[in-house]
Amino acid sequence: MPREAEPSNNAKAFLLQALRENVRLDGRAFDEFRQIDLSFGDEYGVATARLGKTKVMVRVSSEVVKASADRKFDGVFTISTELSPIASPAFEVGRQDQAEVLLSRILEKTIRRSGALDTESLCIIAGQKCFHVRADVHVLDHDGSLVDASCLALVAALMHYRRPDFEVRGEEVQIFDPREREPIKLSMQHQPFCVTFGYYEDGSVMLLDSTLLEEQCREGEVMISMNRFGEICQIAKYSGEPVDAMSVLNCMNVALEKVKVFDKLVKAKLEEDEKRRDVGGLMAELSAENAR
């Protein structure tokens, strides 16, 4: 009967004492992230993000479906999240956990509601056919900062994914196999990232990228999603002790800086991946944007 590993009293007391002395258990600065690692799979749309021991894999896929009647000019975009016992003994199969609801809501608000993915570009024939892009978020290992890691992996996977090309001839639609025509990138309007702040000691200590133990001991958290232009997509401070309005506003500036770092990292990794795929420099010739 696995259950959530609760921190011992010794660990709690030690952690708080350490924070009072400006020490984090893993030796990081308060606003320092753990080692961020981002890798892509062989197929388009598979991305794995690691934040220290936390590991999240996202897979994006698409299929052609009938367009919904009330949104004729839009494609469909869904995000599904799954927390399975593989990530932590606290998660059970089948039961919808509070953590899962929150994770999927935050991702939904950050990426779907903020219009990061241009759903209009997924429309094939208005009212009849459109693409259904589906992102599956799999948490493989949970050591804190689940939301931040999931968001990073999700955005990276969406930017990495290519959907099949198509051609409309009157009423006929031909979807091209990736072998016939080079697939096309999704059109993203902006790239939002989520940064979670955990606070202790009445809001005087703000930690970024908390480990699981730090998450279990914190007084409250503020989750902020924004893009590199400083547009906030979502703020959620559900729980925890009340905190000064000023420190919430300070978080925004810190978050903006971190988001810019994320943004650069994702772009650099994508470029690296593109170079790896572009054997012999043939990609430019295959591009769907070329004249035929």
Binding site: Q98, F229, I235, Y238, G240, V248
Partner: protein
């Protein structure tokens, strides 16, 4: 349904004739349901809510969670009446939005209620939404505060909540951007807004939920107007509670 917000610039009056920092009419009653341990009826404009509290009562066994035995557990259930919205729509029980709202309310009160006084017990909040017209989460939090006071559950402070919007979502329309306090349903659909709840003194943010895209430069005026609104609402809640207390002392209500 696009909303015509162009007239706002001319007269600086909102659709329902309010100014930017004006609250809607706020009405509240306590002890409305005799059967519940605590109850309240709360109106914020056309948003109407009944809240009932059951507890603290013995924890239902078999939940499996032995973890939080030293504190009372707070459970929240939000029910939308079929006739509460514009169109009669049935919400699924496992709706994630509702479940997020329940979580927000439960965890907001976890920090203000003195739950450690009631080990092995649960406090259940039932929120019935009779009519929706914007600021739903804020109204729920306010209604719950009143009902919990009526139930006599010790707390450190009231939670008072409101919503704030901004009229421009981009930084280039600097001079036109006004924060608007206490939104109705139409404004909520059109403008970027946040829900803010305060407790434990001025300038203390208890919950903060923002779901629409807005530039970070707009945030500071929104939060400060929101906190100001919270303290106004706090005053009104305080008035309602004191008036009710006086009635109880005079023996006019049970």
């Amino acid at each position: 349904m696009p909303l015509d917000t162009s007239t706002y610039i001319l007269a600086h009056l909102r659709l329902d004739g309010r100014r930017w920092n004006e609250l809607r009419r706020l009405q509240a009653q306590m002890s409305t349901q005799a059967a519940a341990d605590g109850s309240s009826y709360f109106e914020m404009g056309n948003t109407k809510i009944i809240c009932t509290v059951a507890g603290p009562q013995e924890q239902k066994s078999g939940g499996g969670g032995r973890s939080q035995q030293d504190k009372a557990k707070i459970e929240v259930e939000v029910n939308f009446a079929g006739f509460s919205g514009m169109d009669r729509k049935k919400r699924a029980r496992s709706d994630k939005r509702t479940s997020e709202m329940q979580h927000t309310i439960a965890s907001a009160f976890e920090s203000t209620l003195l739950t450690h006084l009631f080990p092995h017990s649960t406090i259940t909040l039932n929120l019935h939404i009779l009519s929706q017209d914007g600021s739903l989460l804020a109204a729920c939090l306010n209604a719950a505060t009143l009902a919990l006071v009526d139930a006599g559950i010790p707390m450190t402070d009231y939670i008072s909540a409101t919503t704030v919007a901004t009229t421009a979502s981009y930084a280039d329309k600097e001079e036109e951007a006004d924060p608007l306090l206490d939104l109705n349903g139409l404004e909520e659909q059109e403008l970027p807004f946040l829900t803010i709840a305060s407790s434990g003194g001025e300038d203390r943010v208890c919950s903060l939920v923002l779901e629409t895209k807005v530039h970070m430069a707009r945030l500071e005026p929104m939060i400060s107007v929101g906190l100001d609104g919270c303290s106004q609402i706090r005053g009104i809640l305080d008035g309602v509670i004191r008036a009710h207390g006086r009635k109880v002392l005079e023996g006019k209500v049970g």
